[in-house]
């Protein structure tokens, strides 16, 4: 930002110039401006959350966008790809579909394909999954003694996909310092951005 001729403050060296400008800004901002900036920031965060919640409602899935974490579905999906899910109650589970499920007691969702389905007349479904890139089915991944998955284990069905985009989440998970740095930069930008 251009400095006006009448700006207060001592002579600054060019290296510390930009940082000094920022702190100068911060000190000069009165309380009202600060509150305004905080409110602006909160609005952005709330809107993002609302969009996310809206997606959850529209798709019926508790996690409508997931990142592929393993290579068990290669060459279709690689680590870092993004998947878009739906989980409509009336959508039956059929062989060949790609489902994202959680094993009881574990947090990590798994993306694999349905290879066996047995459905009773009353709608009770049990099914078996396997990763395309795995030699064996997923029974080894299920809970001890569990041989089939049920509808309640399903987070959603993969309907669409974007490659690479999810890498950001993986990097942030593996390198938490990167996550904090990103948040700090975003926070600083939003708080100090001047509305002209």
């Amino acid at each position: 930002a251009a400095r006006g001729v009448g700006s207060a403050g001592p002579e600054r060296g060019s290296r510390g110039g930009a940082a000094m400008d920022l702190f100068g800004d911060l000190r000069r901002m009165n309380k009202r401006q600060l509150y305004y900036q905080v409110l602006n920031f909160s609005m952005i965060v709330s809107s993002a959350l609302m969009i996310w919640k809206g997606l959850i409602v529209v798709t019926g899935s508790e996690s409508p966008i997931v990142v592929v974490l393993s290579g068990s579905m290669e060459p279709a999906f690689h680590r870092g790809d993004l998947l878009f899910l739906t989980n409509f109650h009336d959508d039956p589970i059929r062989a060949g579909e790609i489902v994202v499920f959680k094993v009881e007691g574990r947090d990590i969702p798994i993306v694999h394909r349905v290879i066996k389905v047995h459905e009773k007349g009353n709608g009770n479904i049990k099914f078996l999954t396997k990763g395309d890139n795995n030699e064996v089915d997923d029974r080894g991944l299920y809970k001890e003694g569990q041989n089939w998955l049920e509808k309640k284990d399903v987070v959603g069905r993969a309907r669409g996909f974007l490659p690479y985009v999810g890498m950001v989440t993986i990097i942030m998970n593996d390198y938490p310092k990167f996550k904090y740095a990103l948040l700090a930069v975003m926070g600083a930008y939003v708080l100090l951005k001047r509305e002209s």
Binding site: P75, A76, G96, E97, I98, N147
Partner: protein
Amino acid sequence: RKNVEDFTGPRERSDLGFVTFDITADILNGKNVWTCIHLQSIFDWNVKQLFLYLSAEYSTKNNALNQVVLWDKIMLRGDNPRLSLKDMKSKYFFFDDGNGLKGNRNITLTLSWNVVPNAGILPLVTGSGHVSVPFPDTYETTKSY
């Protein structure tokens, strides 16, 4: 078809079916010869691969609907789009959940595929042809596989 213990799953005896099949499919020109139906050309610029699978669908006393994938294949864009597989054994064990294969006259085999794009929607398409496979009323005792 035999009645054996499925060691990979529940510890009860279930029917195990043995199926051999031929597949002739011409995916590039869209003529699925095996099913004798014309389809549109599938491999366009946004198709990364096709995940093909042969599934058997049938009803039993235990379950109103059963689907078991017998065989699958990944066909990447650029691979030979003509499939000509003769006398294939199923890649996966065809276990029923129970004893519903014996005497079951109406087992339908269909070929389906999952189109995996470079980016975008993931459609699941079923070929419109199908083959009916009846299972005999008795179990086999010899190792005929």
